[in-house]
């Protein structure tokens, strides 16, 4: 069977930015930046973006392209027992999509509630409590999975690439429109001050560097799964290193701009800034209620989150749909539908039980997920660092330094181990 490929370099980057950009860019990065040094947080963040983030992307795309396969194929070719490690990371991806689809379902419900005006009258906290773990949430989770199936079933170029070529520019347009509205609100200056005023003493702290490292790494979706699969659709004439820079900065641009959107709005209406689901489902809806034109602002904001989330869920489902196509000889349509429905079966209990939700989210993203990045790095090293460097240079539009080789071989795996351990130390 002939392997599908990307239609254009920009299409590939749009899909990769889409995979990387997710809810964490919006609900986690701004608050972390605000708390850990403001603009000074960007210094460690950008240093690590180049040395770890961009390198991580090049590692996974090079592995994917050189083995012409997803994690099962790639790990099996390089590591003893690699096939089973590949199956393991595929299972992890099912678990991630299973709970992520629920969160995106909540967002879809908030979008509709803003559209119909329900959210303007409701208490956002009570609205979220009634929705979060309910039978209704199950329906929204199903809709998210169904939309994702629809996109993935259409294929790499006609489905994933085309959807991202629409969703990513739309996401940036929405983000910039909302930011302009937010920074022109009365008292927006206080929000900008909280977000940006540099505290250089924080930049010297090891904790700030660790927070920046973990934020950046998890934001880029470098988990030995989606990026390996996306890399496997690259042609030899396609560029890897410049695409890695574009993806890393595209992901960072969304995160940084989200701060310009959130803090001026929050401070303008005297609401306490928060992070995580509380920010999106309680704090910001409170701001939208107080803001003139808040219905439109809120609607566009939730639409932005839907684009950010869907472009990620598509990449998640694609990982194991690709495995089913290549390893089980299934058609893309059948694989998308069957595996999408299987994901719903795995994810449905998370819509009804908070403890199951926590369990599946923690196992997949904290305990096992990050190990995928380590396995991918070890697989590439095992295939031969010289060969990998040669592969990386094929079609490259910029020079790849020789230092890439020792960096990937000796330091990059150590950095991943440090990130893995730091999650438990930092909490």
């Amino acid at each position: 069977m002939v392997r599908e490929t990307w239609g254009s370099r920009v299409g590939f980057v749009a899909a990769s930015i889409g995979s990387a950009v997710g809810l964490g860019n919006i609900w986690m990065f701004p608050m972390r930046a605000g708390l850990y040094g403001g603009a000074a947080f960007l210094v460690p963040y950008l240093v690590l973006l180049f040395t770890v983030g961009v390198v991580g992307l090049t590692v996974e795309w090079t592995l994917g392209r050189s083995t012409k396969g997803g994690p099962i194929e790639a790990f099996a070719k390089a590591l003893p027992g690699g096939k089973y490690l590949g199956i393991l990371v595929n299972i992890i991806m099912i678990m991630i999509f299973a709970f992520y689809s629920l969160v995106l379902g909540w967002i879809l419900r908030y979008f509709i509630a803003t559209l119909t005006g329900e959210l303007t009258k409701a208490n956002p906290g009570a609205f979220f409590d009634a929705l979060a773990f309910s039978k209704e949430a199950l329906l929204w989770q199903f809709i998210v999975i169904a939309i994702t199936i629809g996109i993935v079933a259409m294929g790499v170029q006609k489905g994933i690439e085309r959807a991202n070529k629409i969703m990513m520019p739309a996401l940036f347009v929405l983000l910039i429109m909302l930011t302009i509205r937010s920074i022109t609100l009365p008292n927006a200056y206080e929000g900008l001050k909280f977000y940006l005023l540099p505290d250089w003493s924080k930049m010297m702290s090891g904790k700030t560097w660790m927070i920046a490292l973990s934020q950046m790494f998890f934001s880029l979706s470098v988990l030995g799964t989606t990026m390996v699969v996306y890399g496997s659709y690259l042609k030899e004439s396609d560029d890897i290193p410049l695409s890695a820079i574009a993806t890393a900065f595209g992901d960072t641009a969304v995160a940084v701009t989200a701060g310009f959107l959130i803090f001026p709005a929050v401070f303008s209406f005297g609401v306490e800034p928060t992070a995580g689901p509380g920010l999106v489902f309680v704090t910001l809806p409170m701001v939208f209620q107080k803001m003139p034109g808040g219905i439109l602002f809120g609607m566009l904001f939730f639409l932005l989150l839907i684009f950010a989330g869907l472009s990620s869920t598509v990449s998640m489902l694609e990982v194991y749909v690709d495995s089913a196509i290549t390893k089980l000889n299934m058609s893309r349509k059948n694989a998308s539908v069957l595996l999408g429905l299987a994901t719903f079966i795995v994810g449905a209990p998370s819509a009804l039980s908070p403890s199951y939700f926590d369990w599946i989210a923690n196992i997949s993203t904290v305990y096992i997920g990050p190990l995928g990045a380590l396995i991918a790095a070890l697989a590439l090293i095992r295939l031969g660092i010289e060969k990998a460097h040669e592969e990386l240079r094929k079609g490259a539009l910029i020079e790849v330094p020789e230092a890439w080789k020792p960096w990937v071989k000796y330091l990059y795996p150590i950095v991943i181990i440090v990130i893995y351990i730091s999650q438990f130390v930092l909490g």
Partner: protein, 32 residues
């Protein structure tokens, strides 16, 4: 101009600058 606004402009430039440069190079190379 206030320092906070200057920082805001600087931050936007250092993030969007490389992004636009990279996308420009990639799109230029995509054209046959």
């Amino acid at each position: 101009m206030d320092i906070v606004y200057l920082i805001a402009i600087f931050v936007v430039l250092i993030i969007y600058g490389p992004l636009i440069w990279a996308l420009y190079r990639l799109s230029k190379a995509s054209t046959p």
